[in-house]
Homo-oligomer: 432 residues x 2
């Protein structure tokens, strides 16, 4: 790029897969990216555009000549266009909609009318259907004559005269059956449909749970409006996971390594601010015991151990709980048993660490009383951590909040406050 | 189940999908599970068996009558049998291998010869191939006559006479092309192969990056040995994510909500023990400053704020870094830029919180000096957190450790130790 050698650049980029070119564009710095686009923008196609991460897509679109953008957008399936549109500002949306052919534009606008993160946004409207009464031969003849088939399709969907899906046939079954076979006789039993208004998280769950490869989408009157394929579902699953991990760590959902400095500050500041408030709460608890600490200064050194063990144990429980809620492995049916198990685990681990730290307090700091206080505070805090780690996510889930989003803050605040209070409170009672 | 009404039970379970029956078995308690299996074990088929989580599968297998187990295992594809075998003890493995027909047994044993977590373990050996020179018509006639086709297949793989894959044709393209079309003329350009010894994490990455639906697997001499389909890749992706989340939280990789109490204690104890050691290290740092604390007891209340802010900021950076390493968005090419960005973010957030806590220290505790010390310690610790959060995962990755596994412990130890040391050290210098 530096030598502005366009031919060499094309020679290098041409054989790469669109996804790899998109990765390259993401990994280089903003200045290099501008240079590269300046030299090579004519070659950016729809596939590359839909592979680029949201963070820099806007930047790339602004840079593209209008005719390149038009060509790029026209070759995409409608679901990919919707995916690109979702993250753009109004004026950029208008440019892209304007670039589409009118039939596609209507399809995209209809998809955008469904709520964000719904199956309606995810589906492609290009579907391959056949009437219920057709045979394999009729379907094959129809496919051979069809002009516009989707890039990828894995089933032929059987519909009744009112376009209500009644079943589907895998292409493998179709290819291996004689021409005279009725399609309805080789339809899959695993057939199910998704409503266009279903949340995309449910779509990912259904694909994963029932090992689907594609699934018809129906509107409120059960008519076929589109189809979702497994690559879209895999994408959603990927994003949901990413979201869970980032939310558990207190980072904005959409953080990416290619974000700018100010964007990153903006994503992380709010969570740190919440943590500042809860840390100050814990400091207020400690401040109540300043008289005790001024008599036995060793307490100041030991108290973070109790809080930190509780925080870690709480994080363990809540992570398992948050994941189990996301995969629907934790339901109201087994919740009571899981809570009892967490309590037992908290008590056992608490007792084990109480023995270890009790001995350290006794022998290391030469006070049996201090050892006893440390041990008791640890048991209490690990039990609280275990119960908090399971009950807080369950409660947030019941209240329809995402447990990944807020559980961490609640649980560590709980273990900090209880840890300091139990340790310093017991010390005041026993040692003074 | 309680009323031992087998007919009613079958009526309830019969219409359910295998995955849902498996979920049910996981969610009920061990005693109920035994009762249910006692009443209904005759109906457990291969599909249910392969859906059950590892944690309770052993228990279920032990309970099944031999003939039920034999029938169940025989109906599965080889990759599903391998998946079940992997998590069983030797004697149980022998029972299942003995139940297979001999051709399948050989296939399964060959797959088990590949290293754990490799593409060879993941692939199914049932493949659909056609010679390079065939036409669409020849392929369709072959498929109509074939007796044993895989349950699911999405491509016909084109091979040369030595069984080396040369391309593949999607079933959709085949169905929509005239009989006389040569298969090689409608082969996909996106064709690629996977080596049987490739790690399964790379398989998941390739499927996700290039939106593959199935991919041929070759041995060391480039001969076709099997095929991996997207549902297997989706599974791996799911497991990798799960592993990352659980490791980041310091919980054993294979934790599940259905684990027993002792198993859970065993998974969580080691991580808490490591945390105990590092917390004691931090306590030793504090103990060096007992003289300072005994003069200004307020320090004891405020010091956890500095440590906690650092710990949270470090967790934010490292989570983003660990995820970016896993998705290959963070590479040596952009690492320097990302490190600079993290440092800048750490300094900006550090400065913002320094102002806030400086004011709280000054106005709330009536000491400008205390405010200054708090502010300086926060800037130092948030910078350390940001740098540690990115450099520790990068270093672990370079040393070929999984950064998700150990980064958290290193980074929070770092921010605890630096946080206490900076705050108490500065306080000793400035305030005494």
């Amino acid at each position: 790029v530096e030598s502005r050698d366009t031919a060499a650049l094309s020679g290098f980029l041409e054989p790469l897969h669109a996804a790899d070119i998109a990765d390259l564009l993401e990994q280089i710095g903003p200045a290099e990216r501008r240079d590269l686009l300046g030299l090579w923008s004519g070659e950016i196609d729809g596939e590359i555009l839909s592979e680029i991460s949201d963070a820099i897509r806007e930047e790339v679109i602004e840079f593209l000549p209008r005719h390149v953008l038009t060509d790029a957008v026209r070759e995409l399936d409608t679901d990919d266009v919707v995916d690109i549109l979702e993250d753009l500002d109004e004026p950029q949306q208008a440019i892209i909609l304007g670039a589409l052919e009118s039939a596609d534009r209507v399809a995209v606008e209809q998809a955008m009318a469904y709520p964000e993160y719904s199956a309606g946004r995810l589906m492609q409207r290009e579907v391959v259907v056949a009437p219920l009464h057709w045979t394999v031969g009729e379907a094959i003849d129809f496919l051979r004559k069809a002009e516009h088939l989707p890039d990828q399709f894995y089933h032929v969907i059987l519909v009744d005269p009112r376009m209500k899906p009644q079943g589907y046939v895998t292409l493998g079954r179709m290819l291996s059956s004689p021409r005279a076979t009725a399609l309805r006789d080789i339809a899959e039993d695993s057939f199910r449909t998704i409503k266009a208004t279903d949340p995309e998280a449910d779509v990912a769950y259904i694909f994963n749970q029932y090992h689907l490869i594609s699934c018809p989408v129906v509107d409120a009157t059960d008519r076929l409006v589109g189809v979702i394929t497994i690559d879209d579902a895999m994408n959603v699953l990927d994003e949901e996971h990413e979201e869970d991990i980032l939310r558990l760590a207190g980072v904005g959902d959409e953080s990416a390594i290619s974000d700018g400095i100010l964007e990153t500050v903006k994503q992380r500041f709010p969570w740190l601010f919440v943590n500042l408030l809860t840390a100050n709460m814990a400091a207020l608890v400690i401040a109540q015991f300043e008289a005790t600490i001024s008599v036995i200064v060793a307490l100041a050194a030991l108290m973070p151990i109790v809080a930190s063990m509780g925080g870690n144990a709480g994080t363990q429980s809540l992570t398992v709980a948050v994941r189990a809620l996301a995969t629907k492995d934790l339901t109201s049916a087994n919740a009571p048993r899981v809570v009892r198990r967490e309590a037992a685990v908290g008590l056992i681990n608490g007792a084990a660490f109480a023995v270890i730290m009790g001995l350290i307090g006794w022998l290391g700091y030469g006070s049996a009383g201090l050892g006893l206080v440390l041990a008791s505070a640890l048991v209490i805090n690990l039990l609280v951590a275990a119960l908090g780690g399971i009950l807080v996510p369950l409660l947030l889930n019941k209240l329809r909040f995402d447990p990944a989003l807020a559980s961490g803050t609640f649980v560590t605040t709980l273990t900090d406050v209880i840890g300091f209070f139990a340790f310093l409170g017991l010390a005041t009672l026993v040692l003074l």
